[in-house]
């Protein structure tokens, strides 16, 4: 099971649209969840529409939270993604076995549910899980980095407790010297590795959320990062220049 959690506080302003990028990730079996971070709960978030459509295109969910709720939200999203994905598969299987397009665990007779749910719980615990945290490191996010570090640490504690293999990677964008993203930590399950995240920061003010998601996909596929500054498909995705 593969998942990207994007943590941002506003609009993207460069490259391919975040929704298009999230849709590409989802098409490759990577769920994209998005957390919008705000200073106060009541003030709402600029760019909430954008993160909502990004999460929808990425098959995930979005939440707008204050920094203090970041850790809990990341954990909840990760669990939700695993459980929802497995339930979806189980319901599909049930439909095929029972030859009934309405079949689902909820439609099983209550007495039969126990066994199925026991298997689902076991699968939830055992399935291999990879989570990439993709962090918006634009200037306005800087004062939230302590909370982000704390939340990353907390998430890895939860991942470590699972029986199945579980790994976390941390990336932020924009990267240094014209790279779209910077890898803070490659796939790991060691807490100590998280101590040095979010330090090599770029001062440039852009927020290339879409391109950053595309780069994160390649991180999952073991090809490492494409080191070109902005991939060529960025242009075609917007499609304004096609003659």
């Amino acid at each position: 099971m593969r998942q990207i959690i994007v943590i941002t506080d506003g609009y993207s302003n460069e490259g391919v649209s975040p929704s298009a990028a999230a849709a590409q990730a989802y098409a490759r079996g990577i769920v994209v969840n998005v957390i919008g971070v705000v200073d106060r709960e009541t003030e709402g978030m600029r760019g909430e529409r954008e993160i909502e459509s990004m999460a929808r295109a990425g098959g995930g969910i979005h939440r707008v939270v204050t920094p203090s709720k970041l850790a809990y939200t990341m954990q909840m999203m990760t669990r939700h993604t695993v459980v929802a994905t497995i339930q979806q598969v189980v319901n599909q299987e049930l439909r095929a076995i029972m030859n009934d397009s309405q079949a689902s665990v909820a439609a099983l007779p209550p007495a039969k549910r126990a066994e199925v749910v026991r298997a689902v719980d076991e699968w939830t615990e055992m399935t291999p899980l990879k989570v990439a945290l993709l962090i918006d490191a634009s200037a306005s996010m800087r004062n939230k980095f302590d909370a982000v570090r704390d939340a990353a640490h907390d998430l890895l504690i939860s991942l470590q407790a699972r029986k199945g293999p579980s790994e976390l990677a941390v990336l932020h964008y924009p990267g240094n010297s014209s790279k779209v993203v910077e890898i803070d930590v490659e796939w790991t399950s060691e807490l100590a590795k998280l101590e040095k995240i979010l330090y090599k920061l770029n001062v440039k003010g852009t927020t290339p959320t879409g391109p950053a998601i595309l780069q994160t996909i390649s991180c999952f596929e073991g090809t490492g990062l494409l080191q070109t500054a902005y991939p060529a498909e960025t242009e075609s995705a917007w499609g304004d220049y096609v003659v």
């Binding site: 203090s68 850790a71 809990y72 459980v83 339930q87 665990v105 909820a106 209550p110 549910r113 126990a114 199925v116 749910v117 026991r118 689902v120 719980d121 615990e125 302590d146 909370a147 704390d150 640490h153 907390d154 504690i157 939860s158 470590q160 407790a161 699972r162 029986k163």
Partner: protein, 279 residues
């Protein structure tokens, strides 16, 4: 025919009601689920780890306003939730005798649960009910997890992962950490716990120092500190130490008065010597 008497509260997986059902114990608790996977998972835990007073009676689906909702029925556990009891005490500590009894009965519940190879997981005052006899009972098995797996549900303040004091793997020590925090809350440290939790630099040592700030818990401080750093391997050892640390203090007067007695004795003998030498 099920008659709903009143609402009992809300858990992560649904709402609980006090109900009457013909041919069943006079009062039962009914939990109406919001997700059939999660509720069934909780029922599985209840069946495997419950028992005695917390037993699953039956389960079914109800159709409410055209929507099918899963539910299950279990024994009703009369009493007041520990969360409520602490809130009503207005941040004053509960009495030492009360805490001693709550602690001991809670440890015995955990002992039975751990004996079956399960941890309770989401151990917190709201999931503990205190009966008329002052004994504690566990309710809401939504977080109960087989030993060795990752804990299913937790609450920050009682979660040792949150305090950077250990893993979130289901084991005896996970519940025992939460137990220690609950006892600290009973000892009037609730507000201090919450402000320590809100600090970005929260850590285990801060929690351990807090233990000493409750006068009610002084005699149990070393047990609590060991619990917080997961030093007890099993509930059996904790139970032994807890009973010893919280036993009624009959000789407190003698202990406090001892230096005074010494001093008085010294004065008397000095006066006696003085009188002998002058006469």
């Amino acid at each position: 025919m099920i008659t709903v008497v009143r609402s009992l509260g809300e858990g992560a997986n649904g709402c609980v009601y006090l109900v009457r059902i013909p041919d069943k114990p006079s009062h039962c608790a009914l939990k109406l689920g919001n997700d059939s996977f999660a509720l069934q998972s909780e029922m599985n835990a209840l069946e495997a780890a419950g028992g005695g007073d917390t037993a699953l009676l039956f389960s079914d689906d109800a159709v409410i306003g055209g929507i099918t909702v899963p539910f299950y029925v279990m024994n009703f556990i009369p009493g007041i939730s520990l969360g409520k009891l602490i809130a009503e005490s207005n941040s004053a500590p509960l009495s030492r005798e009360q805490i001693s009894l709550i602690g001991e009965s809670l440890l015995m519940r955990l002992q039975a649960l751990h004996g079956k190879g399960w941890a309770f997981g989401d151990l917190k005052p709201d999931n503990v009910v205190i009966g008329d006899n002052g004994h504690a009972q566990l309710v809401d098995f939504g977080g109960a997890t087989v030993f060795g797996e990752s804990v299913k549900q937790m609450t920050e303040l009682y979660d040792r992962g949150f305090w950077k004091a250990g893993t979130r793997r289901s084991e005896a020590t996970y519940d025992l950490f939460a137990f220690a925090v609950i006892i600290m809350e009973c000892g009037g440290l609730g507000a201090k716990l919450r402000s320590a939790a809100a600090s970005p630099k929260r850590k285990l040592s801060a929690l351990q120092e807090l233990v000493h700030e409750s006068k009610t818990l002084i005699s149990a401080a070393f047990v609590l500190k060991r619990l917080l750093c997961s030093e007890y391997a099993s509930v059996d050892e904790v139970l032994r130490d807890w009973k010893a640390a919280m036993k009624p203090q009959r000789f407190t007067f003698a202990k406090q008065a001892l230096p005074l007695l010494w001093f008085a004795g010294a004065c008397v003998s000095f006066a006696f010597v003085l009188w002998r030498t002058t006469s």
